[in-house]
Every structure is written in C-alpha cells, then in structure tokens.
C-alpha cells in the first residue's frame, strides 16, 4: 500500500446487509462489490461509464458503479443483482428477461435489469420510445434491445 494512500473505512448496506470495509481510496464502488464483497453479479465492462454493465442502485437510484469511489458512498444502501431475486424466486424483471429472451451472452444483463427496475420506478416506461431513451445508458453488444424493451413493457404493464 503506498504511504500516501492509507486505507479508509467505508460502511455500506449491501442488499440489506451492513458491511464495513477498509479500502484504498482508489477502490471504485464496483471493485469493492466484486473484489471485496465477492458479489460478482455486477459486471465490469468499459470502466468509463459508457456501457452500463456495472449499474447498481445507490439509495434507490441507478448509478454506474465504475465512476464512483467506494468511499464516496459511505453510509449508502446499495442494491445489486444479487439483492433483487433468487433463482427460486426471481424478481419480476428477471422473470420477464427470461420470458422475453432479452439477453444472449448475458454480460450486460445484470446492469440492464437494475436499470430497467429503476426506469419503471422513475415513471419512464410510458412508451417504447421513452423506454429506449431511458435505457440508453446500457449497451447490449448482442443486440437484444427489442426484447429488452419488450421485457420492460411487460413488467410495466403488470405493475401499471
């Protein structure tokens, strides 16, 4: 550890569970989740906020966890894909992604699902056009976009 980079404490509530970590200040929230808390569902894509694979909810709002330091989120509640549902009891959005075939390789999927859950919560599922605009922060290189929109529309319809 470099002498001018002492570890700093950070307290997070992750998927409802309190966590206390000591991190190098350089640790992004994404790396803290993956490497320190071993929640590898959140994916590291570009590391520059452009692809959305690392999307998580912080205090209920979607963020890209690669562009924020763990220490900047001290005291925050974080929801990752592991906190949404379980294999036996999928979150409705997870179930809709399966039902609508809304993924291929799956790498972007956790971020897509977190973003989609937040989008409905924000009230931005009014039309396909609005869904596409508000999903623009999540890229899918397999090109499953049409089915992702369908999955979101389906869940929004169930909730509406």
């Amino acid at each position: 550890m470099p002498v001018d980079s002492p570890v700093v404490p950070v307290a997070l509530t992750v998927n409802g569970k309190p966590e206390r970590l000591e991190v190098d200040p350089r640790t992004t929230l994404l790396d803290a989740l993956r490497d320190r808390l071993h929640l590898s569902g959140t994916k590291k894509g570009c590391g520059l906020g452009q692809c959305g694979a690392c999307t998580v909810l912080v205090d209920g709002r979607r963020v890209v966890s690669c562009l924020t330091l763990a220490v900047m989120n001290d005291g925050a509640s974080v929801t990752t894909i592991e906190g949404l549902g379980t294999p036996d009891a999928l979150h409705p959005m997870q179930a809709a992604f399966v039902a609508c075939d809304a993924f291929q390789c799956g790498y972007c999927t956790p971020g897509q699902i977190l973003s989609a859950v937040a989008l409905i919560d924000e009230g931005h599922a009014g039309s396909d056009e609005e869904i596409r605009e508000h999903m623009s922060g999540n890229l899918c290189r397999c090109g499953a976009y049409a089915n992702i929109v369908e999955a979101i529309r389906t869940v929004a319809g169930q909730e509406g």
Binding site: D4, L48, G49, R62, C66, T68, L69, L119, G137
Partner: protein
C-alpha cells in the same frame, strides 16, 4: 490510477480546507474526474469530496433562479421551478449523458467537465491541453468532432457541456466561493478561449469552489428549445446543438437568446443571430436570415466542415420551433 488521499468536507470544513494546489481536486459526482483518473489524464494527490457540503437544491429568488452546484442533474431536471421557468436548462440536461450519469453528475461539475477531443482523451498522443507545448494533432488529423469557432493553432477542442450552452444563452452567472469571499462571474466570461494556453480553461483560481449558478429573472419563463444533433439518438455528445429562447409580442421579437454547442471551444453565444431577430416581425425569411448569421466567423477543417450547414440548419429549426410555440401562446 495514481494514489491519492481522500477527505470528505462538510459545510464548515469546506470554508477552511481548499483544493488550492494543482495536486488537489474537488470531487462531487465524479463522473468525469473518475474517467480522467482511470485514463491517467488527471492524477490528483488529494481528493476533497464536496458532495455533502450542502450546495444542492434550487431556489426561486426575487431577481432570478439559483441552482446549487451540488444539485444532481436528475434533480435539476425534475425540479418544478426549473421545469416551469427554465425549460431550456431542463431540456439541455435531459439530453445530457445517460440516466445513471445524470443521477450522479452535478451542476458545478458539468460546467467543468473536460473536452471529449479524441487526442485529449488519448494519453498516447500529443495534446496542448493535456501537455502544454506537445502539439495539436487535431489540426490536421481526425477533427470531425472538433470546433469550428473559437479555435487556435494550439487547440480546436470543443466544450462538451450542453448545460453551459443553455446557461450562456440565458446570461447565467457562476457563483464562486473564493478564499476571501463570494464572487459572481458571468458564464460568458467564465471560460477562456484556448489561444496559446489551451490548458487554462476557466477564470477560476486555485481553491475556488463553484457553489451555484444563477439565472437572472429576465431570462426566465421564455419559450425555448434545445436541439441536440448527434451521431446516436441518445447518450452521445453533440455534433451541433442549438439553444434558443424567444419572446414574441404581437408578432414582434422582444427577446432573443441564441447559443450553440458542439461547435465552439467554449459555449458559443450567437449575438449576430439575436440582432437579426430583435425588433423584427417574425416570418420564415427573417428566421432563415437570422439563422444564417450563425455561420459568421467559422473556421472549419476538412473533417468538420459539415458542421457549418448543420449549425445554420439546427439554429433555423430551433428558431422555427420556438416561434411556433410563441405564436401559439
């Protein structure tokens, strides 16, 4: 990423502890700074987190509207005062970045985001803005995204903020906390043209902290349009954007505020377009003649000459859209 120390400031400590060396930096949303640090473009030794110093929120004051520097873009967009009285700002912000980034990024940080010039962002190439004196490959290189206004032989990087374009059209001021008190700087005077010192981008002094932007009352409540043209439908920086706010009384233009983004090395006000509108009776020919003034003084490169007609057409389209809104009022 180079190692750094981290300190979170509160409202009290912010007044005492300042990012007053080139080795320290304020961070709030972090959405640009973290990219710069990941890429090795910025390497501060000390980060001072100002996200909890209490500069967030929007206030309607007697003489204008104040948007706190710490306000997240999403919160500014959804603020009822901004939506009702500064629709140009709300529209420019809604066209910025992605929903995730808008939830993180702040108003103050947005004004200070660095350029997206390909050479600035690529540390393997020279760039006068990143490394003074190293050269500007954009002059003769890949310059499709670069500026056609306000450039120099040393730099033709565009300013990337949409918010700043809307705010410069509205005569906004930047409120800055300085060691010896508070200052107000007109946004029009806030940015420096690159000249031969493109690494110096603003008139901020070391330690200065932006606490708010202020839009004077005369610039509020106008019909407006922020038209952003880009390579993708969403989550992309502008090729050209046009910010237009007008007031038309009995068919005559009584207020005209026009600026453009994606074309200038700084957010670019278009006073010559405004002059061709003020006091005129609105008709198709007047709007077209006014829009054509947007191209005055352009200095395009082969790769970005397409931006000249795109600018004129974007201004024309935005003017027509706002004129329609006003005439229907």
């Amino acid at each position: 990423m180079r190692a750094f120390t981290y300190e979170r400031l509160d409202g009290d400590s912010a007044a005492r502890r300042r990012a007053d060396t080139t080795d320290s930096a304020y961070v709030a949303g972090g959405t640009d700074l973290l990219q710069l640090m990941q890429e090795g473009i910025a390497a501060p030794r000390a980060l001072l987190d100002v996200s909890r110093v209490g500069t967030d929120g929007v206030t309607a004051e007697l003489d204008g509207i104040r948007i706190g520097a710490g306000t997240r873009l999403t919160d500014a967009i959804e603020d009822p005062t901004v939506a009702a009285r500064l629709p140009l700002v709300a529209e420019a912000l809604a066209a910025s970045a992605s929903p995730q980034v808008r939830n993180m990024a702040t108003i103050g940080g947005n004004l200070l985001q660095r350029t997206r010039c390909l050479y600035f962002r690529d540390v393997t190439t020279p760039c006068n803005k990143r490394e003074p004196g190293s050269g500007c490959p954009a002059q003769a290189g890949e310059n499709r995204l670069n500026a056609i206004l306000g450039g120099s032989a040393h730099c033709i990087a565009t300013h990337a903020s949409d918010l700043a374009v809307a705010l410069v059209a509205l005569d906004a001021e930047v409120i800055v906390e300085r060691r010896n008190g508070e200052r107000s700087i007109r946004l029009a005077d806030f940015y420096r043209l690159p000249g031969d010192t493109p690494h110096r981008e603003t008139h901020l002094e070391p330690g200065d902290l932006i606490t708010a932007v202020f839009v004077p009352i005369a610039a509020t409540g106008l019909s407006s349009r922020y038209l952003k043209l880009r390579d993708r439908a969403s989550f992309e920086w502008s090729l050209v954007s046009a910010a237009v706010a007008l007031k038309i009384d009995d068919g005559e233009v009584t207020a005209a505020r026009v600026a453009a983004g994606g074309v200038g090395t700084v957010p670019w006000r278009l006073p010559m377009v405004e002059d061709r509108l003020l006091g005129r009776t609105i008709d198709v020919a007047t709007l077209q003649l006014a829009a054509e003034a947007a191209a005055e003084g352009v200095d395009p490169r082969p790769g970005n000459a397409f931006k000249v007609p795109l600018l004129v057409n974007a201004v024309a389209r935005a003017l027509a859209a706002v004129a329609d809104q006003e005439l229907a009022r």
